[in-house]
Amino acid sequence: MSRTSVAEATYLAASLLFIFGLKRLSSPRSARSGNVLAAIGMGLALGGTLLLPGMGHFGWIFVGIAIGTVPGWLLAKKVKMTAMPQMVSLFNGMGGACALFISLGEWIGEATPTGDFGQAFPMLLGIVFGSVSFTGSLVAFGKLQGLITEKPVRWPLQKSINALLLIAILVTAGEAVAHRMDAGWAVGLAAVALLLGVLQVLPIGGADMPVVISVLNSCTGLAAAVTGFSMHNMSMIIAGTLVGAAGSLLTLLMCKAMNRSLAKVVFGSFGLAPVGTAGAAAQVDQTMREIAGSECAIMMGYARKVIIIPGYGLAVAQGQHLVHELDQALEKRGVEVKYAIHPVAGRMPGHMNVLLAEANVPYPKLLDMEEINPEFDQADVALIIGANDVVNPAARTDAGSPIYGMPILNADKAKNIIVIKRGRGAGFAGIENGLFFDPKTRMLFGDAKKALQELVTEVKAL
């Protein structure tokens, strides 16, 4: 068997392993093995590539791999679970940049004076997708890491400038094909696309970042696929397309959960939506009822059923271990404790489950919105920790609200509601929450971690 066919056999095996890997990643029991399968596939494809005839520079290849492995490994091992979304975004950006450099290299290496559009097209797409994905992911990383403001950034003529950039992309791409031997135009194309990535993500608020990361993830997948087209590499086409397609589906699932259209996320944010309606302000009775920690402990300690609604505030305060402690203290007293997980709790769908799993909360106690919503009627206490928009009844009742129509957790159906909240302000999306003024609601102001610590001590002392 020739070395080419050995390489191609490893590509086939790798493609199958990626498909099985993704499949296994979709079920909790097999997920970890799925990831390992995909990693094995990656190793096989890499090994097969090294066997390709005509390969050289092996020393540099190994040095490059070593340089990439060390920081990649360390970052991935050290990062806190709360910082996971921005880490995914960062690695995603690296993939985008990689596709950009490869496409530029192909553009220069495969240049022919005749200029074949069919050959040039995937390279140009690789440059554009790779660039947008690279800078877009870096901005998303900066926003989530707190290096750049999470608020939507705006400037005059925003949409016109973006439209101009799109036109500039088409023009430079055309010129690049026309002057096929002059790589300057291709570099110019990359520069415009890099700028577009920055300008496209900057105006998007922190609350929409999960959707943005998911979009950029499929964008890098596509970049990998088109790079595969220009290199005639089967494994890159298949793996890249798989990720592009799966990532797009995931994006749509996320948008559905947040009741946001993808167009709205990308082209306008909460700040632009008509802010509240007169009706909403009038119907809200403007008093919040405060409660002391000891009183909360009594309410929960003597309840039959408590449903905990964790939100991003809990993750920020690193309070997930304390929640589990509170849960155990309550269970010891015979209280039934469950967790209601909104699809977009945390910063990415499923992020909250990861955080609670890290704190040793048993997986069967974490319930999805559809499963838990009918149970709120029987709950004595709904304990809301650092969540806001996902329990805002305005989503059901107020057609003028920007979040109207978003599926929410029915915390307002519980007999009592306790809200642990940092301050009196509105939530991430800047929308007032009528639930906080409900006569059944008691507010426990303060840092989630401190408040939980107090509750744990008080419940244990009951």
Binding site: L46, N92, M94
Partner: protein, 101 residues
Amino acid sequence: MGTLAMIYIFILAIFTGVEVISRVPAVLHTPLMSGANAIHGIVLIGGVILLGMAGDSAILCGLGFIAVILGTLNVVGGFVVTDRMLEMFKAKSPTKGSQDK
């Protein structure tokens, strides 16, 4: 490989990608995104080929070398982060109680 064959594969892979994850529970969305992120690290292969076939061209060697580093970051970081997330699920899914619905 012909362009048409590549387009066939592209289209089939789209359907496979959608089909394979269409029934993923919300709990696994983040690990799945992270796992998918690692898989598009396949661009590393392109970087290795670019560098390996660069010959004497300094500019291709340079671009390929950078691409290999970036691609490796994507692959290694992606798989390790995903494994860390999933490790916690595994330790935490007890056999007691029926979680199958």
